[in-house]
Amino acid sequence: MKFFGKERRINRNLYQKLQESFKDVSDFCIREITTDHNQFLLGYITGLVDSKDVSELIIKPILESKKQLSIEDMYSLTYVSNVRITRDFETISTSLRRGKSVLFKEHGDECLILGTPGWKERDIQEPQAESTIRGSHQGFIENIKTNIGMFRRYVPDPKLKMIDFHLGERSQTKASLVFIEDIADEDLVKEMMKRLKRIEIDSIINTGEIQDFIDDKTFTLFPQFLITERPDTTAAAVYQGRIALFLDHSPGVLVGPYSFASFLQSVDDYSIRWLPASFIRFLRYVSFFTSIFLPSIYIATISYHYELLPLDLTISIGESRERVPVPPLLEALFMEVVIEILREAGLRLPSPISQTVGIVGGIVIGQAAVEAGIVSNIMVIVVALTAISSFILPSQDMSNGIRLFRFPIMILAAFYGLIGVVAGLMIVIAHLVSLETLGTPYLNPLAPTRLKDWKDFVLRLPMGSMKTRPTQTRANDKRRQPSKGGK
């Protein structure tokens, strides 16, 4: 620091300003580069720049230069690719905080901003929550540039547009809205921009936070936007006319509008043959209903409508219920809560421990609780089936929402039996039909019924039959395959 006090030839103004603005910022660093011909000052924030880049690409050329260099000379001389010249202090300060280095000349008032960002990054891995069997095994990482790059490889479309902006008053997180201009509906893009602009918050850390701001309805258990870590999912969605939002430092990309039906689809569906794919799809819809309604149907049946069951089943349920002292609702609630606790416990633990938790939990629930007469063994089957059903859904957000829906319906079932379950179903339907995602109906193609889109709904028909883009996205260009259909 001594050095700065002595030297008067350097641009006082800039230097002073920097020093003021980076006072008490210990990771800010200024290095003097002095040769016989030149005297430069280089400022950067350690940890955000690649020190190797800085020394190789900036310092080395200066040191090796045999003549006097101006900033303009440096602009052409430096090996750094992303370079620009500015005089605006705000820009300089922001650039510094974004991992760039600034180089200023002793006498000039110009300043060279050099893009030398470099920090430790995760390797590209398969996203754990969305692994596939056949699909690509790449997942987004925490860098928006890399992410868009990965996505770009799927979409070399000339009409691909990206609108960049920053989110968060303080965090100024970089975000990028990506869509294909001649497919995506302009109104949807406008609507999305309008909603994003409405966000007023100091910082955005993760993509998930944006969701709450731009949802059509927040008081709901159903996700209205997809958050995915998969470039291929994103690309497929964008090709269908959806809009993707990339956010810096977040591997999750937000995609919308995303309907209920799309949440039950997975990329794998398209990479296996259509018959098994349809079967799996169908299973998912069955599981959707089981995971919401199975425990409540069980409660309703054994507390009101024993007549529904065939005699042998009635008797065996009666025998196993006989030892349980609590009413079926409490029994079910207890088991459901235990399963939820186990699930959550297993989720955050390192995998060897979580396996142990699973085994211990499984044995406690499966064997001991039944033997102790706390729950009946039929209830264990019901609860296990319900839990497994909720795991079959490809979207975490969806299965989280559904799991919560189960509890109120169980209570309804305990009060009203099957009538309560049906009332619960009515509430679910009423809620779903009033939901919208980015202003488009959430239940499309079921309601409004678009039979054309049923080719990719509960069943997945051969790719050849899907000639048009889904109506959900109101795509400008409805045609997917050149021959027939569409416009």
């Binding site: 009515m426 009033s434 409004p448």
Partner: protein
């Protein structure tokens, strides 16, 4: 001019299922017995006659509304009759819809109390159904349409089970086709026509329909769907129960289901009636919606959320103090039925004449 109802346009299919949903309701549970009472097993002919009458009435409604493509009936009343007399008409329309909504609501609860939950208090069930009812009815027609669509697809599976009935059936019960002449058949039409009521919501739906040219086709398709369903149930009941037996049941359709036993489930009438509530809800909710919108119109409001809350609370509060006995409910239904026939079959014709004359006069001016 900006079309006032463009924000909530409905598709053709939504138009059809909304009408069919409003038509298919409690009627079908009692229809086979009611018809057999008068016309024996020839009753199905009455259903076809009823369908023809309904088709004519629906077309008349569409014709009336096509003079005012951007108004619902409650917008038309003031235009036709002025603010005050028009207001009276709106009140009449409101009372009719409210009465219909209330009857569907209470009859459904009554059915549940008889067949499924005999010890459940009335108010308990009315609280239970008010909530989902409100969730749908407070929205615009478009959401109602989507709801009707989902219910339509979710209740289709119920047909599958009827195939298990084809074991103890005697098609010869249906013969001879015309048993006691045409007079009883015509008499039974009166009962039948009541089961077709519901198409008069076209008065409210018309301005929302995206493709107005589809309107006539739409009402015809809706009525025919209803007809198909009624005939299916009717034939099933007539060939399953003997003509002597069927009139001894109040709800033969449910008794029919009681017989089915599958390896994994028995007593299907409990399951079916529970699920049938979905269909019943598509009958009741449009009426609640109409009543709420009319109420909002009377107070000059655009939003009908508060009126919906008021109406459902009204239903719940009544249920705490008054629980209708079976006979009373029946009398109310008969009373309502007569007014419904007036409003759905006679009123449109009168209105068409009035509108036609008014337009002729205005054109001359």
């Amino acid at each position: 001019m900006q079309r006032p109802y463009a924000f909530s346009e409905i598709t053709n299919f939504q138009f059809v299922v909304l009408i069919t949903g409003a038509q298919i309701g409690i009627g079908i549970l009692t229809l086979p017995a009611d018809v057999a009472e008068v016309a024996d097993t020839s009753g199905w002919i009455s259903v076809i006659i009823g369908w023809a009458l309904t088709a004519v009435a629906s077309i008349v409604i569409v014709k009336v509304m096509s003079y005012y493509p951007d108004s619902t009936i409650i917008d038309v009343f003031p235009k036709l009759f002025g603010k005050y007399i028009g207001g009276l008409f709106i009140i009449g329309w409101l009372l009719y819809a409210l009465f219909a909504a209330g009857l569907v609501f209470y009859t459904s609860i009554f059915l549940i109390q008889i067949w499924i939950l005999p010890h459940m208090p009335l108010y308990g069930l009315s609280i239970l159904f008010s909530f989902p009812g409100y969730l749908v009815a407070r929205h615009s027609v478009r959401v109602l349409g989507r709801y009707a669509e989902v219910v339509f697809f979710l209740t289709l599976w119920m047909f599958v089970f009827s195939f298990f009935l084809f074991e103890n059936i005697y098609p010869s019960y249906l013969l001879p086709i015309i048993k006691d002449g045409w007079i009883p058949i015509l008499q039974a039409t009166h009962t039948v026509v009541l089961s077709f009521i519901g198409f008069e919501i076209t008065f409210m739906l018309y301005p929302y329909l995206q493709d107005k040219t589809f309107a006539i086709k739409g009402v015809l398709i809706a009525n025919s769907l209803t007809l198909g369903f009624y005939l299916f149930i009717l034939f099933l009941c007539f060939i399953f129960f003997s003509p002597y037996e069927i009139t001894s049941y109040k709800w033969p359709t449910l008794n029919l289901l009681k017989v089915i036993e599958l390896p994994f489930i028995e007593r299907l009438e409990i399951l079916f009636l529970s699920f049938y509530l979905l269909t019943l809800s598509t009958t009741g909710i449009p009426y609640f919606y109409i009543a709420a919108v009319s109420l909002a119109k009377l107070f000059g409001k655009q939003e009908h959320k508060i009126p919906t809350i008021v109406l459902f609370s009204f239903m719940v509060i009544i249920s705490f103090f008054y629980s209708p006995a079976e006979k009373q409910l029946e009398q109310l239904i008969t009373f309502w039925g007569n007014s419904a026939i007036g409003i759905s079959y006679i009123f449109p014709v009168v209105l068409l004449v009035v509108v036609y004359i008014i337009h002729k006069v205005r054109k001359r001016k």
